[in-house]
Assembly symmetry: C2
Homo-oligomer: 552 residues x 2
């Protein structure tokens, strides 16, 4: 298991009225520091006693759990629920809400309001006390999910647990266990007991294993029992493809890539074979009752999402979305939290429409998208094709992004692929946070840019999303240790030169109170001669930029 | 030197009224083929006789060159020019225009109109007859530039020529030689004589070398002579930072990252030291005369572009842009083609403003941007941070994107970095082509998606921007040759299963003329029972998607 802090940082806990909220403190060489959001759990804390056999300590067991309340304002005392949604609607600020508020730098009341409105969810099954709660909603930092899971082809349990630890180390906010092979229950148990982040699943996968892969043999009862089995283990959110209705299936007939969602195709096969409406749809109320009992969050699956640019935003996709909107309303009447899954493959000019429609049809429930890939022509680079779409869809209001690795469409991701996928998606999420003006987002950009401009190489590495690779790339050209403190970069050679003009210019402007072009026009005639002499005294050094490889 | 075709394709020439226009033909296993734009020159043609010592054949020498015409409509017969812009304005369709029209699938008259309006440029120095002309303008496919060039620190001439060949192999539409070390003239000579794509330079770099790196020693005469030296060699476009005016320099004082453009900082240093206006600005007309003589295209440099998210869209940047607008108008009055360089580092919500302002101030001259990076926090992944910004700015109308490699800010790119940078930028450019509905863009997405859906693995690889890496990633999980023809993917295991439901559904919908949800509602009651039986006969197989690693 990978443990120990990320280079240049250490775990720091802040006290939020008795709750211990983790942060990662990046120490800077100029004596300053920057605290950043930390998804890595106890694994990066050298003082933590990690024992995979025992699992993480169940921290949330000692937190206060309020009494059940009315599921929603309209349901009254006949339907009670113990969910973040119901408590939020009842005006109760839970420990989970206080925890996520401290984590993100918001007032707990803002968190409660967003959860009460259904615009944010806190996926936290009562039976997953090992998790450090997090919030998914467009007002908060954009989150990233990483998929793991064994399959019939390869990988074992310890490998999956390590993948979970590895993905959260680099910033995965949730993980989904998509195991489809042998030992699904046991693999999940190990992951649940060791995961510091919420875990999502797609119960239909395990249900299908129970009927040896024949979807027509699926029944509501079998599915329900599988959901309860997973609920008992503590799964925090579940993908349910309840919007794949019988009448939508033929809408996929003229598509270039038909149905590409596994869950969607399973349910389509069932509907066609039985010429009946999906049991996920007809039994949705019963499912809500189960979810409410554990506070499992719905991730309403987009089983008919487009699998290619050609199929984006078509009638099949948007018909299902309308149904997901109906289901959202039903789930919330049971006090159950809901998020909505989205595509997939969408060209840039059709991305925003997805968000607007989701918000309109699904009461602004948090949107959770896979990419989308902005083009189909670059297998082996689909983390990049999809990061473009992901950044844009997150800017438009998507709350969580499901990562894509370089192996998408081609093979199973290895450890390096998982890391590249997570880092790529942290980039997309952070770019969106900047664009949405999340109160804490730009701090890190500014800190890194300042370090860059001041040639504090070590700080530049440590402030990066991936300090190890940044340092490695630098050292390929200039491996010696002095290169990390000297004021030059590999592109310009070892001359002390960089900040001269800018520092010079800065001093000049401050001394002369020059802010606008008009100020400058006024002053320039009288002052520039003196300045020129001063500049010449300092050696007339040219300012050499950091971007020389790409700069002209 | 890397030669030979890209996997699964071969060079194909189309005849455009006697001009031989290259394309790359991708052969498909279903007997079909797809022709795509080809930037690679003779290097991928096995019948070509490549001799780096001799250089490429000067194909354009045999093309028709029209007589000089009035530089522009307002200048009259007193100022003559032999440039694509002047000819276009005079209503003349040149061979270069016909060549690019055939290359992109446009009518030559459309090309002439766009060039005449200054909305597109064809960088083609009369002294670079080895080049295959290409067009840069928002109505055409978005182009990608790759920077190469030796430096004081490393790399030799043959390495630079190979980098050029390598970059164009993977799709670079132009290259810039940013050499700053020894043998600048000779390196450029080798690159020019062997480059099938237009070559850009930043003459101030070589001028600075001539004064041993002291910018205050620069003079107009020295700079002019350097420009003529490079013009004679055939440089197709030159970056000129003529918009860095004395009065703008103090506007950078309060920035987080000051001036990050090398050319910009050189000119800022000169202006401050001499307390004089930039000689590039005061002698701009003379420069235009030289450029007009060779038909060199201006790439008006953004010397004050932001070097960090914090500095984006500030007064320094936009003041310079206004000056570039004035210079654009002057250059065009000499018949000189112009494009405008843009940032750099810009958060997503500030990207579109850059394009709108550039178009407004610079008469819609083609915009040519570096990225922009949408966040500063991911050194070692800046090809990705910048591809996000690049795709968005191209969607908004940027005509050419300057690539960024994973080594940006950290070190010198190697061969692998150059390839990753080019492929990443081809993704951004193509995503924008899709979003702008370029007439040929979606063909390739559809062909690849169809191959994917039909499990034509080899076609999927060969249609990819990088067939080699796509195949390699596939083979990591399933190396055997049958896996490339069998109907399954590495995620789902070897069951013949994939297209069953979708093909089935397709047949059903076609037979019953079911297109809308209403059609389906009407038919579903009467037809579904029969359908169900038919489906059961076929084995009730579940449709297993290709996206299982990331799909739920």
């Amino acid at each position: 298991m990978t443990t120990g802090p990320i280079a240049g940082s250490h775990k720091q806990y802040i006290d939020a009225d008795g709750l211990r909220v983790p942060q990662r403190r990046i120490e800077l060489t100029n004596g300053d520091h920057l605290d950043v959001y930390d998804t890595s759990g106890p694994y990066t804390d050298p003082t933590a006693d990690i024992d995979v056999e025992r699992g993480l300590p169940p921290v949330r067991d000692s937190w206060h759990r309020p009494e059940p309340v009315a599921a929603g304002p309209e349901t009254g005392p006949t339907r009670l629920a113990s969910t973040q949604l119901s408590w939020a609607r009842a005006g109760i600020i839970t420990d989970e809400m206080r925890f996520v508020a401290a984590r993100e730098g918001f007032d707990p009341e803002v968190v409660r309001e967003e959860v009460a409105a259904g615009r944010a969810v806190i996926p936290a099954n009562h039976r997953h006390p090992e998790s450090e709660p997090m919030i998914i909603g467009k007002r908060f930092a954009v989150k990233v999910n990483a998929n793991i899971g064994n399959s019939a082809v390869r990988s074992d349990i310890s490998e999956e647990v390590e993948k979970m630890v590895w993905a959260t180390r680099w910033g995965a906010d949730t993980i989904m266990d998509l195991s489809t092979g042998k030992e699904i229950h046991l693999t999940r148990e190990w992951i649940m007991r060791n995961s510091p982040v919420p875990v999502g699943t797609v119960p239909i996968y395990q249900a299908l294993e129970k009927v040896n892969g024949d979807p027509t043999k699926l029944t509501w009862e079998l599915y329900r029992d599988t959901v309860i089995e997973q609920a008992e283990q503590g799964v925090d959110y579940m993908t349910v493809h309840a919007g794949v209705l019988l009448r939508y299936v033929p809408l996929t007939a003229r598509r270039v890539t038909g149905i590409v969602s596994r869950g969607g195709s399973i349910m389509a096969a069932w509907c066609l074979a039985h010429h009946e409406e999906s049991f996920l749809y007809t039994h949705f109320g019963e499912l809500c009752e189960i979810f409410a009992q554990y506070d499992i969050t719905f991730s309403l699956g987009d089983g008919l999402r487009p699998g290619s640019i050609a199929d984006a935003n078509d009638e099949a996709q948007f018909s299902e979305l309308r149904t997901l909107g109906e289901l959202t309303s039903i789930a919330k009447s049971y006090g159950v939290q809901v998020m909505i899954e989205g595509p997939g493959h969408v060209p840039m000019h059709k991305i925003v429409e997805n968000v607007r429609l989701e918000e309109e049809l699904c009461e602004e429930a948090p949107f959770y998208t896979l990419g989308p890939l902005a083009t189909d022509i670059a297998p082996a680079y689909d983390h990049i094709t999809s990061a473009i779409g992901a950044a844009m869809i997150a800017q438009a209001g998507t709350a969580m992004l499901c990562y894509v690795t370089p192996k998408e469409h081609l093979g199973l991701p290895n450890r390096d692929d998982v890391k590249v996928g997570v880092i790529t998606y942290k980039i997309a999420a952070h770019a969106a946070d900047l664009a949405k003006a999340h109160p804490r987002a730009q701090e890190r950009d500014n800190a890194l840019s300042q370090a860059r401009f001041e040639f504090r190489w070590t700080d530049q590495f440590n402030l990066a999303l991936d300090p190890d690779t940044a340092r490695e790339y630098h050292d390929e050209t200039l491996p010696a240790e002095p290169a990390k403190t000297a004021h030059f970069c590999s592109m310009c050679g070892p001359k002390f030169c960089s900040m001269r003009i800018s520092a010079d210019v800065r001093t000049y402007a401050e001394e002369n109170n020059l802010v606008t072009a008009e100020d400058i026009d006024r002053k320039i005639a009288e002052e520039m001669a003196a300045k020129s002499a001063e500049f010449a005294d300092q050696g007339n050094r040219v300012y050499l930029p950091l971007e020389a490889t790409a700069t002209h």
